[in-house]
């Protein structure tokens, strides 16, 4: 067997633009390519509760018991090693229909609020926080060099627990609103 092994040590700076540098070395029994990657801050969120149902806490006829419901979500996050951070926020992007509850202009004392939980990779909001259609409100914050769970496909989890007063002024019916969650990382 005739085998030629000539090690070519290649020193190359990492490239920030995708693709191979097509400058080929001369032909020999072996050659070395430097593989580089730039890992940046990233964040992704998935709402695992398709529709959050708000139900009365105790019995169907007691106005004192608010409607409550829980939205579950999972997230992945990586913030920059130095000077990084991030957050998860929520905004009511579509209010309940007229005649029912209202996030934008609730009757006095009828503001919809929420509390939060998260995994150790984040700091959950300090609730209860009043939900808003005007701007995003906090669900969780991330510190510098934050990392969610290890393992390919793994993620961390959190919840938002909604509370909506049961005001007799609301007309009977089914009312829906849309809560939009946003995650970011730097």
């Amino acid at each position: 067997m005739k085998t030629k092994i000539i090690s070519n040590t290649v020193l190359s700076a990492a490239l920030l633009i995708g693709g191979a540098t097509q400058a080929f070395g001369q032909f020999s029994g072996s050659g070395t390519t430097t593989v580089s990657v730039v890992v940046g801050a990233e964040a992704a969120i998935s709402i695992t509760t398709g529709t959050t149902s708000l139900a009365e806490a105790t019995g169907p006829t007691i106005f004192g018991a608010p409607f409550t419901g829980t939205t579950n979500f999972s997230y992945k996050v990586r913030t920059t090693t130095v000077g990084g951070g991030g957050s998860i926020t929520v905004k009511i992007t579509s209010d309940f229909a007229a005649g029912g509850p209202s996030v934008t202009t609730p009757p006095t004392g009828d503001a919809m609020t929420y509390t939060c939980t998260s995994a150790a990779s984040a700091t959950p909001c300090t609730g209860p926080i009043t939900a808003s259609t005007a701007g995003a409100t906090s669900v969780a914050t991330f510190a510098t060099n934050a990392h969610s769970a290890a393992g390919t496909g793994s993620s961390d989890a959190g919840t938002v627990v909604w509370t909506l007063p049961n005001d007799p002024v609301y007309k009977t019916g089914t009312y829906t609103a849309t809560a939009t969650f946003t995650i970011s990382a730097t």
């Binding site: 067997m1 005739k2 085998t3 030629k4 092994i5 090690s7 290649v10 190359s12 990492a14 490239l15 920030l16 633009i17 995708g18 693709g19 191979a20 540098t21 097509q22 400058a23 080929f24 070395g25 001369q26 032909f27 020999s28 029994g29 072996s30 050659g31 070395t32 390519t33 430097t34 593989v35 580089s36 990657v37 730039v38 890992v39 940046g40 801050a41 990233e42 964040a43 992704a44 992945k76 996050v77 990586r78 913030t79 920059t80 090693t81 990084g84 060099n145 990392h147 969610s148 769970a149 290890a150 393992g151 390919t152 793994s154 993620s155 990382a185």
Partner: protein, 184 residues
């Protein structure tokens, strides 16, 4: 002291005699001899390759999609009627601490069609052993058309996929991949 003197008349005779040795008389053929020398070239099995100096792995978005990038390996090969060969790769230097890990199985690859030989399927890169890129058959040769390959050099594309794990720290990381070819 006696001085030997040659009569002047002897000089022309000496010249004629000497000249007679150089030019054969008319009608006499020259003696010729020939010898043969055997030229022997031993064509051995051989393999050589060339690779790009570097490749960058990239991905779309910031939602933990895997990174990917490709390199095209050029190679020349000649194998014997009873031989074969291999084009392999091995990660000789893993990514730096805090980054992705080849030893941890983060780097996989697939091979495109090989211009000569059989390309690899889906594979996991390794720091401990060489892994296959192309397998060369017996009686393989590069270039010139049948029975050799149509083109020279032959090429094979290797596409890397690197898992984007949230536990990896931000930063720039590099690894060294050594490609080796052998032929028998």
């Amino acid at each position: 002291m006696n001085i030997l003197r040659f009569p002047a008349a002897r000089v022309p005779v000496a010249v004629v005699v000497l000249y007679g040795f150089l030019i054969p008389p008319a009608g006499v053929k020259a003696a010729t001899s020939t010898v043969s020398n055997s030229l022997k070239a031993t064509i051995d099995a051989l393999g050589e390759l060339s690779v790009p100096t570097s490749v960058s792995l990239t991905h779309a978005g910031t939602v933990f999609n895997s990174f990917s990038g490709s390199v095209t390996v050029q190679y020349l090969a000649r194998t014997t009627a009873a031989g074969g060969g291999n084009l392999t790769m091995k990660v000789t230097q893993d990514f730096q601490t805090g980054g992705p890990s080849v030893a941890g199985g983060d780097l996989t690859y697939v091979c495109g069609a090989a211009g000569l030989g059989t390309a690899c399927g889906a594979s996991t890169a390794s720091t401990s052993a060489a892994t296959s890129v192309v397998t060369l058959p017996s009686s393989a040769c590069t270039g010139g058309g049948t029975p050799c390959s149509a083109t020279s050099p032959n090429t094979v594309s290797v596409t890397f996929t690197l898992a984007d794990r949230p536990t990896v720290d931000t930063g720039t990381y590099t690894a060294s991949v050594q490609f080796t070819i052998s032929a028998t």
